[in-house]
Symmetry: C2
Subunit: 341 residues, 2 copies
Amino acid sequence: MSQQSVTMADVAKAAGVSRTTVSFVLNGRTESSIPETTRERINQAARELGYRPNAAARTLASKRSSWFGLVTEIATSPFATDVIKGAQQAAWKDGNFLLVAPSDDEPGMDQRAVEKLLEQQVGGLIIATTWHRQITVPDNAKLVPCVLVNCFDADGEFPSIVPDEIGGGYAAAEILARAGHTNIGHITVAMGIPAQIGRQTGMKQALRDHGIEPDDTKIVPGDGTADSGYHGTQALLSQTDPPTAIFCGNDRIAMGAYDAIKERGLRVGEDISIVGFDDQEILAPHMRPKLTTIALPFEELGMAGVSLLNQMVEGSPIENRQITIGCPPRIRSSVAMHGQR
Amino acid sequence: MSQQSVTMADVAKAAGVSRTTVSFVLNGRTESSIPETTRERINQAARELGYRPNAAARTLASKRSSWFGLVTEIATSPFATDVIKGAQQAAWKDGNFLLVAPSDDEPGMDQRAVEKLLEQQVGGLIIATTWHRQITVPDNAKLVPCVLVNCFDADGEFPSIVPDEIGGGYAAAEILARAGHTNIGHITVAMGIPAQIGRQTGMKQALRDHGIEPDDTKIVPGDGTADSGYHGTQALLSQTDPPTAIFCGNDRIAMGAYDAIKERGLRVGEDISIVGFDDQEILAPHMRPKLTTIALPFEELGMAGVSLLNQMVEGSPIENRQITIGCPPRIRSSVAMHGQR
DNA sequence: CTGTTAGCGCCTTCAA
DNA sequence: TTGAAGGCGCTAACAG
């Protein structure tokens, strides 16, 4: 490090006071009130000398660092980067940093990542995943406060923050039902994952609440790819009584659905209504017609993660160990009113 | 921090040696050779006690930290996250961390970000942007080694690493020319930015090299959105001698182009060939037909950034201050052979 | 209200 | 080959 090194002692000397005094005013301690003039003198000296606090020294002396560790595979995938963004913003606001360590499928890597993070004296840990699922948390993560984001552990030992898949599925189906559709298809994401289960459950609930009996023959299993959306849509539209609306398990499925619909000479948002899920910013607003979809609140997940962590670090009791965050609808142009009531 | 605190002194005591000795073996110093038995004894003691080095103490004492700072707006945008990924991997491999600080449009914010990073004793700085462009670097960034990634400063004071836009444009046009197309349209990204200028320049060069005289009436200015691709394509296809192939300035433009083409009852990859740019992983491989495009080497940019930084920190002379990294083609299914030679 | 005094955990030079 | 001692820059009791 080639930084010039101006220390507190230097500032103290220049201002003609002791290091303690400098430490107090520079850290804005109010408990012992120091004359405004002294204060000013010190601040000025610091400025003139170009004093810059040394975070390592501070961490060492105070035994508390200004950063949290984030271990995640997200850094490796473009899908959920907003959780990093949210976490970062929240941390940054308090002058804290996020140390992000890449998570890896290779077994044991997570443990190593956590280990490195602990060496850096992180005050807390966030473990985040790209897609909502169950994980097993490395043991050493228990050494500091730790919260799970977009994932959860089997026995709920760690507080976790996840999207409200059920609510999202409900919202999606409701949009369609409210538009007058009664014959609604669904193409799922990969079977068995929380997103699939939750969204489908929510959808069925919404249908029932709107007086529509869910029909399992209208639900075709997909795998989250555009291809599965394409083929799923073809299957649905080939039924004898084809749906007038389809709730696609995610935006990419919707992308495939668009293609299948257009290929049949039908029009999305007129003949067939589509609702997606995820609200991928690169995709949804750019489709033709622009896709009505349900947003995954990644940024909020990240923010909630650090704020929960903050609470834990400060020792506040946390009331809610399983926080679920709503998935808000993004109404655009792929849904049409259908028939009359 | 609630970590149990086992220090080197503890290990030393347990192993019956001095702290110095412990420090030497734990850091793998070879210069003074310590008996294998002692070594083993120390390692075992460390393991048993659960010793974990304290990075803050190490940084303080050695005056060199194990991290680089990355200031970027990328953390805020899903478009170029791979540069973080690449940088992180490269850093992580050496046991180093990346401290990433959000960059902000608000003037002065970058300076503040750099300031915070310097306080953390970063050994070097990377400044990265989402899209290739010129920036002005905050003054304080000069205090440590600093490299620019996906951007550059006006007077080339900082080493910078950027994608080879010209080469990419050349490759795109060449794919089309080699497929036998001679009437090739182009829809640009936002006018005046390096991507637009470089790609267009490369394209024209490729055409000339293939005996095709560039025709400016075939070049329609866009703005990088799917909408501009849609309208640009309509314009192109309405010409009296419409192009048989279109080089779209980016993948989203290509997305719009697909829609316009399909709407006219033509088939992408048969009647009209399309080449994109960027290779957005969420988009390009999911389009129908899958989009042939030119990849932006984000990950490599990031990796090159930290490896250059490593060199600088170690004081190695750097020969190349302006590194440009190739944009490799991704051949998929949107280009068809055209006519005979 | 301000200054003195100890460390924090580790690295590193110097002796032994 | 190993041990002793000093110091990195800062915080935090505790005096004055």
